[in-house]
Symmetry: C2
Subunit: 526 residues, 2 copies
């Protein structure tokens, strides 16, 4: 069977001395090997049993990317429980709702996230134990939770050999909730099988191409769809794993890339803005880094070019919580090798083509497949062994209305080579004079202007056209950006009727817990 | 479910215009796209049903690597039948035995292999139809088989849309027989699941690293364990596929590499000797070729160096019919990047470390695991989702005596990084004075001598030592090689007591149907 525990056991046998390096909450670097990780995971599995957990029970984590969180990811699943990574950046009410809905019996919490759950204490009645990810010397004192357990004490003295159960590979191993940009977050349950198949698909040369020769740094947090599966994929192939903890600023990330010889990393566009600015300001390079996976929201083309100038390939990727998450990656084909530079850049802007096992179709308003011309808009539907079939403990959801398929809610184009470009979320697309205008393209063009730091485009009701686009801009420090600048900048880049009707300069834009633009809030600003 | 038909359907949707290029039996180049291949495979699936086949029935093929054989590989499995690729180089008696044992109801046969089965006519009572892989103009006439069917007529006019059954992924899709170096060939049945998982594992960067940007040429025949899974792996990722037909000489292979921009190829060492000699004799390069997978028998180190000098990386690999077949591949790890050249070469001589999902252990005579020191000999045992659990329609075999594990019958060493080196087949290892001498190392040293074309080392009974090694040598054209040459050449390369006691120069050595040295015959020459 395809099991998380087998994946780890095989890796340890071949790559026992490969390193796992973590930046701890206190800032110090923790360093150990797969062999050490394996022993401590087995101690943790014993400790979980001693907490009284039974097969299938959910175990919640509120933690940064670090070695203890990694131990939880493997030991909880391997022992037959369900690892539930909770996003601490959700609204407190959502966090409480998720813990209740998941029925988490135990929570593992970073010291610096304790305050977060203290505020939710009265809603954590179902939680039987809270374990702090620290040793005794760093244990916080909590008036709300007098019985906090200490992670290091919990596993200390436990046997370091555990008989991992031979589970059916369709047993649940993990649970993640969507970020809930619309409505309440929804839970997606992953099986051991989908987790292993996703790890394999992510390692293929046409997705992130991970190998034992890599040093991989998942900057995307584990509470964001299991760090896009990289903690599984890296260990599957025996890559060195670098876990950056809570500090994702340019200085911290650059420091780890340099000291740990990082070759591959992945995360949302926002975090790379910080790194690229730091590198430019300090006249530095990105050293050994060769590849950066970018997803979560569309990667602005200018970011791809900045990385390219530093010798780093951007692998533009796309996925959702419901698809484990990586489902598309933008890797050129053989026929693209001799494309002129501009055509190659245009290709890189697309989110990519399906990973192994992923099937897709794009449906027009009549629910028939749209032409594969790279122009016609439609709804993206996907299916495959790593795509969910429904939400955890939930009524039938309309996203799963067509049997076997998941309706992503994204409006996309599909070209004849299978490359998808996300045009917009269904609810964000702007309907003007019977035509659709995608907000993402307009935002990408805006941020390619040297004065623009961030941009958002939303619809404004219009008596004549139905809707018209409004551009919100956060300018770079000390820069200005006017409606005239916008008009000049868009001229020749899009059809005239697509150019935003109005430009508003703002100090900041609202984001979701996962760093995406919160369009529902921005629309309220119109 | 993981199905052969889904793998193809997904590939066609994304890579419909990717080419499949075949050298036909007549020598001409046939060229079409995934889209064409998909249509014809569906016509073939209809035709198979019209032949009266039922779910699970075996369909035998006697064919070279070409587009029609590829159509059979996919359509037979996809439609729910079992594709049985038969090795035409086995002894006629073995071929008849295999067809009987498999219960093949239909045979698909190249025109130039018809003579082979005409001789076996009286033993083909169970075969209800014989289809010749040709169009009407090239149909042979057979007195023995007056009712030969013509492949092109069979599929012509069939609908080119077929409703592929949604099979359970553990349904059988293929059947291959071992080469039978000892005893009768044994059948290994593959499931759709293992076939897809093997294709994924083969594409990972740490095995053959196949991508859509590749042009892959499986030189290893499909009748040799499905061309090591490359026809599945290539289509899984959308690579251009180049099928070289029957002509595997240096001129023919070099021609295809040059004209089709081949980037990756794979085959047994023998075939590369021919290519390398041709390239050297003509002062040519290997053009776009970047990677060559070598397995089937141990790759002599000198071959790795010759390819390296031409800018081609050798991926030394190992597998057996029972392991789908690829189970080990030799790819360096991160720690090996700065190895000195000689240590790097030593690493390349090893067969490699386990592919994703493969678990191994090496047992000493006491059936306990031997030290992972790269020196101690032991028997290689493997298991995993792509390893067989038994032989087709066969009594319990001692190779499967330990539940869950397959005893490979190979004597190997295992080092602390998980790299395996095949020392010998259990039955070929030479026991001298209580120590084991591996024949493969002695053969590799012999062929690194400029006068030696091929070498074999077998045991000779010895009253004092039990056994002593005898070296058989086929010299290069116009060269001589004496016992004195051997002594000087081995001096300093192996311990004195390992140097062959006797040297015999011969014109040729006997081989199995798959090009391996036939040690049982060579021992008779002692």
């Amino acid at each position: 069977p395809l099991l998380v525990s087998s994946m780890l056991r095989n890796a340890v046998k071949t790559h026992g001395d490969t390193e796992i390096v973590s930046r701890t909450a206190e800032g110090a670097i923790h360093r150990y090997t797969y062999e050490d990780f394996w022993r401590r995971s087995q101690q943790l599995a014993h400790a979980l049993h001693r907490l009284g957990l039974r097969a299938g029970d959910r175990v919640g984590t509120l933690a940064w990317n670090g070695h203890r969180h990694l131990e939880l990811l493997y030991a909880v699943s391997g022992a037959g429980f369900v690892s539930h990574t909770i996003n601490p950046r959700l609204f407190p009410d959502q966090i409480a709702g998720i813990i209740e809905h998941a029925g988490d019996r135990v929570l593992f919490v970073e010291p610096d996230m304790l305050g977060l759950i203290e505020k939710l204490a009265e809603r954590l009645q179902g939680v039987e134990a809270i374990v702090i990810l620290a040793d005794r010397s760093r244990m916080p004192v909590s008036a709300r939770f007098p019985d906090l357990l200490c992670y290091e004490e919990l596993i200390e003295g436990q046997p370091n050999v555990f008989e991992w159960p031979q589970l059916d590979e369709r047993t649940a191993c993990g649970l993640c909730y969507t970020s809930g940009t619309t409505g309440a977050p929804k839970g997606v349950l992953y099986s051991h099988r989908s987790c292993v198949l996703h790890a394999m698909a992510v390692c293929m040369p046409d997705s992130f191409g991970l190998a034992a020769a890599d040093s991989a740094m998942p900057v995307v947090p584990m509470f964001h769809v299991n760090a896009w599966g990289l903690p599984y994929a890296s260990i599957l192939v025996g890559a060195k794993l670098v876990l950056p903890g809570a500090k994702l600023d340019g200085t911290s990330l650059h420091g780890l890339i340099a000291s740990e010889g990082v070759t591959m990393t992945a995360g949302v566009p926002t975090v790379w803005t910080g790194l690229l600015e730091w590198v430019a300001a300090h006249g530095e390079t990105l050293g050994s880094l060769r590849k950066v996976g970018i997803g979560g929201s569309a990667c602005p083309p200018v970011m791809i070019e900045r990385f390219a100038a530093l010798g780093v390939d951007v692998v533009h990727a796309w996925g959702m919580t419901e698809s484990s998450p990586v489902a598309l990656a933008c890797q050129p084909k053989r026929k693209h090798h001799h494309l002129p530079a501009e055509a190659r850049r245009a290709l890189g802007r697309k989110q990519g083509r399906p990973l192994t096992g992923i099937e897709l179709k794009v449906l027009g308003p009549d629910r028939r497949e749209v032409p594969r011309d790279g122009k016609t808009f439609g709804r993206l539907m996907i299916r495959g062994p790593t795509v969910a079939a429904g939400y955890f403990a939930s009524e039938n959801d309309e996203a799963f209305a067509e049997p076997g398929w998941f309706d992503t809610g994204d409006v996309v184009t599909l070209d004849q080579d299978g490359f998808v470009e996300i045009v917009d979320r269904t609810k964000d697309v702007i309907k003007s004079g019977g035509e659709w205008i995608g907000s993402i393209e307009l935002e990408n063009i805006a941020v390619s202007h040297p004065s623009v730091r961030e941009a958002a485009v939303v619809a404004r009701p219009d008596p004549k056209w139905g809707e018209r686009p409004v551009l919100f801009v956060v300018p770079n420090d000390g820069k200005t950006f006017t409606a005239t600048d916008a008009l000049a900048h868009y001229d020749g880049k899009v059809a005239k009727w697509c150019i935003p009707t109005e430009v508003r300069v703002v100090d900041a834009l609202p984001h979701t817990a996962t760093g995406k633009l919160l369009k529902s809030e921005i629309r309220k600003m119109v």
